[in-house]
């Protein structure tokens, strides 16, 4: 079936001018997507849903206020089951679980994306410089990275966030960034070393290209995809980290909704009503799983491609 799909595309592929190249590329991407296993398709759908819900949380019609405690105003119950008004029921202080999940997704995703953004930027630049120049620069950068990596990150994070007292999302992201960049730099450096050994770099050197130009034009663009791929892996890790911090009571301050915080709160009443713990746990698990599954699929995809070349 997949073969016939490929043939189909090949037939419709126009040949000749420059426009067709991009058309062919779109078509081949479509084929790859068509061959995606159903589980990965499901994961991608889930992630798209989650991201759009997080972005548009404020304008979703009918979505409850995540901090509204119905029982205070006499129009809601605590630990309520699913209903037309509260699709997933309410938690132990009568807040709408669905709304809190969606706003919690915002916290998780902002945390993870900002961590990855810092990691990829620093990892690409510092890693490329370190891996291309080698020598003293490389040794000192890597020594620093080694020290950072051996420092127990969770302890450091707990420590800084506790002492800073104010734990806005921004502060949390900033502190996390300190502990995130070293691994990205390692990945960037390792890739830069491989890239530096390739023929096109030697060729650039041979025709007298300046080191700066080689770094910017040859090394960086080739290091970027590898570091970005590592960033995707890190999304899952950072989402787990955020929820763990919130669970320990050291994430974003309450009452801001976060998945870990929801689980921590529901934990107190586990025997009375287990659902407020189940929903955020399932959401968290599904999200982390989706990222992992997507990464595995992408990895298999690139492995197939490089094997074919």
């Amino acid at each position: 079936m997949s073969e016939s799909a490929a043939l189909d595309v090949a037939e419709h592929q126009p040949t000749g001018d420059g426009d067709s190249v991009s058309a062919g590329r779109v078509a081949s991407v479509l084929v790859v997507l068509k061959q995606m296993p159903w589980l990965t398709k499901f994961c991608v759908t889930w992630l798209i849903l989650l991201v759009s819900a997080a972005i548009f949380a404020d304008v979703i019609p009918g979505l409850a206020n995540p901090d509204y405690q119905g029982f205070i105003f006499g129009d809601g119950k605590t630990n309520d089951g699913p209903s037309a008004r509260h699709w997933l029921g309410t938690d132990n202080v009568s807040r709408d679980i669905l709304a809190r999940l969606i706003y919690g997704a915002r916290v998780s995703l902002i945390f993870a994306v900002s961590g990855v953004a810092v990691g990829v930027t620093v990892g690409c630049i510092l890693g490329s410089i370190s891996g291309f120049l080698r020598g003293f620069v490389d040794t000192s950068v890597m020594a620093f990275v080694d020290v950072m990596l051996s420092f127990p990150a969770l302890v450091g994070l707990l420590f800084v966030t506790t002492l800073l007292e104010a734990r806005g999302l921004f502060i949390l992201c900033a502190v996390t960034a300190i502990f995130v960049w070293p691994r990205f730099t390692r990945v960037g450096r390792a890739t830069a070393i491989t890239v530096s050994g390739q023929d096109f770099v030697s060729a650039a050197k041979a025709i007298g290209t300046s080191r700066r130009r080689i770094l910017l034009r040859e090394i960086l663009p080739n290091v970027f995809p590898a570091v970005l791929a590592y960033g995707l892996v890190s999304m899952a890790i950072l989402i787990i980290l955020e929820s763990t911090l919130s669970f320990l009571g050291l994430g974003v301050e309450i009452p801001t909704a976060s998945w870990g915080g929801m689980i921590a709160q529901a934990r107190q009443d586990l025997l009375i009503n287990v659902w407020p713990a189940i929903w955020p746990s399932v959401t968290l698990l599904l999200t982390v799983y989706s990222f992992n599954n997507l990464v595995d699929w992408l990895r298999a995809q690139t492995a197939v491609r490089s094997a074919a070349v």
Binding site: D146, S150, V155, F159, T162, L163, Y289
Partner: protein
């Protein structure tokens, strides 16, 4: 080779020095005065008394002097006194360390017990249904945050089935049975994620090993599959696994902290958590350095073991 080991050791010492200094600076630069932990706010009206305590604890000296003093004591095994309880940090650590180590070792043991057969079998049936099922579960296990696994285990095995206690700790001196009962759930919470990682690593190495010619010849001799897998296949496939187990000590430390919080276990992780809350700087400093030392030493050992086992690494380095 001895030269290489010496350079590893030098790096180990340098790392420890840097980390301890960084912690020291962090502790001193960040807001929060140690004096608040030493004297209640009301008693701080008495300036003379405050000055006296500051002098007594050496808080008035420059940071470098204090670091030097701390380091000098630390080398002799004295990590200072807790500024909250007044007890020596070293004593507190040696009292709690066995608990944390036990959880970690049982967790690693359980993970290996799960991962080795699963990884081997998965590789043996590569691409077939058993492999797909095992790999699927491994992917799921990888996605489980430790505290979620822990909560699920507590809900099922402590609250519903009542097989194990939900919180608390029995020391080994209270008998092996009670001790194992309290270590079971915490270790299991850590082991599920770790086992998933180990299974994947072992599977991919094993798949490569099973394509080797000596495996083919072993099969051709008519040896049973099980014998070939475990006697011929397993050992050469263990190298990456050993490294990953060493590296996972880092994540395990973080995980143990969470588990000790979740199960209210009086180990190192729980202590550093409360120390951070109480601004007990000496305690935080001592435990951080200890954790780092543990991590760095294990990884140095893994590196050295690697060099001993595989001569190729000796040459390329």
């Amino acid at each position: 080779m001895p030269k290489m080991i010496a350079s590893r050791l030098l790096r180990l010492v340098l790392t420890l020095l840097t980390v301890s200094f960084a912690t020291f600076v962090m502790v001193n630069v960040l807001p929060g005065d140690a004096i608040n932990a030493l004297i209640p706010i009301d008693a701080q009206q008495d300036q003379e008394f405050v000055e006296q305590v500051r002098e007594e604890w050496g808080l008035n000296d420059p940071m470098l002097v204090r670091y030097g003093r701390w380091l000098g004591d630390a080398v002799t095994g004295d990590l200072g006194d807790s500024i909250v309880t007044g007890q020596p940090v070293t004593a507190e650590i040696t009292h709690r360390l066995p608990i944390t180590l036990e959880i970690m070792f049982v967790a690693v043991g359980l993970s290996l017990l799960l991962a080795v057969p699963l990884g081997v079998f998965s590789a043996y049936r590569e691409g077939k249904r058993p492999d797909r099922v095992i790999s699927g579960f491994a992917q799921l296990g990888l996605s489980m945050p430790v505290f979620v696994t822990g909560l699920i285990l507590i809900y099922i095995f402590a609250l519903k089935l009542n097989w194990f206690p939900a919180t608390g700790w029995n020391r080994l001196s209270n008998g092996l049975g009670p001790n194992l009962k309290t270590v079971a759930l915490p270790a299991m919470s850590l082991a599920i994620t770790e086992a998933a990682v180990y299974t994947r690593v072992l599977r991919s190495d094993m798949i490569i090993t099973l394509k080797e010619n000596y495996i083919l010849s072993a099969r051709a001799k008519g040896l049973t599959d099980r014998f070939v897998l475990f006697r011929h296949g397993l050992r050469p496939s263990l190298l990456t696994l050993v490294t990953v187990v060493g590296l996972s000590v880092g994540t395990l430390i973080g995980g143990t902290l969470v588990v000790e919080f979740l199960f209210a276990i009086p180990g190192i992780g729980k202590r550093i958590f409360s120390a951070i809350y109480q601004r007990d700087f000496m305690m935080v400093q001592g435990i951080t350095v200890l954790i780092t030392a543990f991590y760095v030493i294990i990884n140095t050992l893994v590196d050295v073991a690697y060099m001993v086992v595989d001569p190729r690494i000796r040459r390329t380095n």
